[in-house]
């Protein structure tokens, strides 16, 4: 039981998906997923702070299995900065999650850049819902990451969700040019994108994440587990890289 899912959500989203702690833990048991990063959804009332509290409560119920990430809306300026600080210092969260699509805030925009000063001070990684047109395309994530080389960023879906493959080369370039950007594997187009990246950028920056429940944890865990890589490379993606990034060993 060493698999760590770097990307799951708890709660009921205004965007029509959701899951409870019980459902998540039951599925993790069934799929032999030992640990998961848990993140709030954007709720019906658009108030993220109570959702951060709910995720913190969930982590308290299963502290060996869950790692909390904070979610804030960068457009809320100082309020977002204070909420992030509260989540890290008082709720024990280990990172920040930004969803530029659901919060409609381009990832290289001024509000996000302003938030990065707090991120730097707190020394936490930032996970970005990647690949969304106009707000989190690979080139936009690269723009932010190159401005803040001391911060570690994780681009979900490798920063590309396009079923024609037209975003693949930009995502590869982002990863090659920005050693502070990690790739998370959920919903990724073409499993061979992951396999082909290994000789180009190494194995250390690849992280398994499912983006459950928006994507299927049952399907997503197959991508790294069935990847045409060596057992040690698969283990790195499935948990070792994540634990090193989070400072667990």
């Amino acid at each position: 039981m060493s698999t760590l899912d770097f990307h799951t959500h708890l709660g009921t989203s205004i965007f029509g998906y959701g899951q409870t702690l019980e459902a998540l833990l039951e599925r993790m048991d069934r799929l032999e997923i030992a640990q998961a990063v848990v993140i709030p959804v954007q709720p019906l009332d658009y108030h993220l702070s109570p959702e951060n509290d709910a995720v913190a409560m969930a982590v308290l119920q299963a502290p060996q299995r869950l790692i909390g990430f904070a979610r804030v809306d960068p457009r809320q300026g100082e309020e977002a900065e204070m909420e992030l600080e509260r989540c890290i210092r008082h709720l024990g969260f280990k990172g920040l999650f930004l969803h530029p699509w659901e919060e409609t805030c381009p990832i290289n925009s001024a509000p996000v850049q302003a938030l990065m000063s707090v991120v730097k001070r707190l020394k936490i990684p930032v996970m970005i819902s990647g690949g969304h047109v106009r707000v989190s395309m690979a080139s936009q994530i690269a723009d932010l990451a190159s401005a803040f080389p001391e911060i570690t960023f994780i681009a979900t879906s490798g920063g590309q969700i396009n079923i024609s493959g037209v975003a693949l080369s930009e995502a590869t370039q982002m990863l090659k040019e920005n050693p502070n950007v990690y790739l998370e594997t959920s919903g990724i187009y073409r499993e061979d994108f992951i396999e082909d990246l290994v000789p180009q950028i190494g194995i250390e920056r690849l992280l398994f994440g499912s983006n459950s429940p928006e994507f299927s944890q049952e399907l997503e865990v197959l991508r790294p587990r069935m990847a045409h890589l060596s057992p040690s490379e698969r283990n790195a993606i499935l948990g070792e890289n994540a634990r090193r990034l989070l400072g667990f060993h």
């Binding site: 396009n162 079923i163 024609s164 037209v166 499993e191 994108f193 049952e218 197959l222 069935m226």
Partner: protein, 249 residues
């Protein structure tokens, strides 16, 4: 037992193409997954001006070398005046069994006069047309619907069934158009495949992987994990595509 057929895979030998996928690569992945046969096509459209490489000849050579395993679809650019004659020759003389269109590549709407002419030729020859159906202009389900209605005699397979964000549109179009089938490759939402089967019946949903980029083994498990009955699986994994091919007539 029935032979599992993968209705959408690729081979490519164009010098300089990023994706060099010889037929032996997809065959190896089919073997790993326990898939008996696959529909193959190139990533590039024919006809093309490239000295020493002819996409249809590459596909033809592959399915002639592996006649028990590979089924050829001709990927054509409808903008070329000779496309309908080329399709006729490919089907009647060379043994191709279908047409593949990727309108995002050649930048024509699915109901353009050139395209409709080619679709009518496919219908006249008794072969199905596999359309790329994703999240980009020219390939959106509601755009493909116009082609389905303008050419009701043509049998259209919507590859990727709407991609990441347009699956519900694809299901709605298939409900309105009895000449449309939905194909499961690469879309990351297994639950939407179940919705499609519930809305349309298992007779209208076809398994495919978009391999070798997408792993046929993972794509097969994506369909098998949904709890369909044996009869439903037999239709989705084998019988539906076979019924559309001229070899079954």
């Amino acid at each position: 037992m029935y032979p599992i057929i993968d209705a959408h895979t690729h081979i490519e030998g164009l010098p300089g193409c990023d994706w060099q996928d010889p037929p032996e690569l997809i065959l190896r992945l089919l073997d790993e997954a326990g898939i008996a046969r696959a529909v193959v096509m190139t990533y590039v459209d024919a006809p093309m001006e490239h000295e020493g490489y002819e996409p249809l000849a590459y596909v033809r050579e592959a399915f002639q070398r592996y006649p028990e395993r590979l089924i050829g679809f001709a990927r054509l650019d409808p903008g070329h005046a000779e496309a309908p004659a080329l399709l006729e020759q490919a089907v009647r003389e060379w043994g191709f069994q279908g047409l593949k269109l990727h309108p995002f590549g050649y930048r024509q709407m699915p109901d353009s006069p050139d395209t409709l002419k080619l679709l009518r030729k496919a219908a006249e020859l008794g072969v199905p047309t596999l359309f790329h159906c994703g999240d980009e202009e020219y390939t959106l389900p509601l755009q493909l619907e116009r082609a389905a209605k303008a050419c009701p005699e043509a049998k259209l397979i919507f590859g990727h069934m709407g991609g990441y964000f347009h699956v519900h549109d694809a299901i709605a179009v298939a409900q309105r158009c009895p000449n449309v089938w939905l194909e499961t490759s690469a879309t990351p939402h297994p639950e939407r495949i179940r919705e499609a089967v519930e809305a349309l019946g298992a007779e209208r949903v076809i398994f495919a992987s978009d391999g070798p980029g997408c792993d046929p083994g993972i794509e097969l498990k994506k369909v098998q994990m949904l709890g369909f009955s044996e009869q439903q699986l037999r239709l989705i994994l084998s019988e539906n595509i076979l019924r559309l091919l001229p070899e079954s007539l």
